[in-house]
Symmetry: C2
Subunit: 161 residues, 2 copies
């Protein structure tokens, strides 16, 4: 979908600077992300996978988590995310779950692949049927697992998200 | 790919119990996950999106993060993950980034959709070209962003992941 929000290059430069500085400081991969609401930065983060032993600590995930902590909400309505690179499928889906408004990116997933990152491979894997994926998948106890959804559907206390 | 690892149903029951108990306690969605290495549970977690204001706090992401903290590594080699529901694209990609060995799941993404979760929708979105996605995407400053990858490629200090 075309964006109706005009990007502000200064926020992308901030994301790119975070990415570059992150490599120079040895804290992680060349990725940075900034979350903006009403023209104001509410979170900025770089990738910290290797320095925090967390494979989910990509720049976008770190920025989403920080932004949500900051505004005390599990949704980023009306927020725009500037990321120095097109999100991998993990970050893309995280951005959807955050319900942010617009995603601005610098590098593409092809640029990322050329720098040695798995993003393109992951996009291919996500598209594949389970039985053709590189990591083996197997369903176990489907008949018992459904109970947790039944309890959810009947719950009067549940908070939808 | 077919699994060469035999699942142990007791770990799936643990994941399902976490999911069901999570709804009953009001802490989050009906999802639980357990990480197993050498027949031992190294992490177990439920979804905590709404109780921790973190849209990335799905059961699998929480379990991956806890397991990595536990073993002080950013990779879960030789680990099998039992999740009460087929992972959403965020969790699927997080599992790939963790390099775990096998993924066992209880409910399917269709079961999840029937319970009101966006997993199927997200799989469709990830497959779409950027310009057809529901959230607007736009490239900004691609010519400047590439610098962070150049610095990465030239870095002698980098830790690949």
């Amino acid at each position: 979908m075309a964006s109706t929000v005009q990007p502000d290059p200064k926020f992308m430069r901030m994301a790119i600077d975070l990415a570059t500085e992150n490599v120079r400081s040895g804290k992680g991969g060349p990725f940075g992300a900034v979350v903006v609401r009403n023209g104001e930065v509410i979170a900025a983060a770089a990738n910290s996978v290797t320095s925090t032993n967390d494979p989910t600590a990509h720049a976008e995930v770190n920025a989403i988590r920080a932004a949500c902590r900051n505004i005390e909400s599990f949704q980023l309505d009306e927020c725009d995310v500037y990321t120095s690179c097109e999100p991998c499928p993990m970050c893309l889906a995280a951005l959807y779950w955050s319900r942010c408004r617009t995603i601005f990116y610098g590098n593409t997933k092809s640029d990322a692949a050329a720098a040695g990152f798995d993003d393109s491979f992951l996009y291919d894997e996500v598209k594949r049927p389970i039985e053709e994926r590189r990591i083996p998948f197997q369903q176990v106890l489907g008949d018992e697992a459904i109970e947790s959804f039944d309890v959810w559907k009947q719950s009067s206390e549940r908070i939808d998200y």
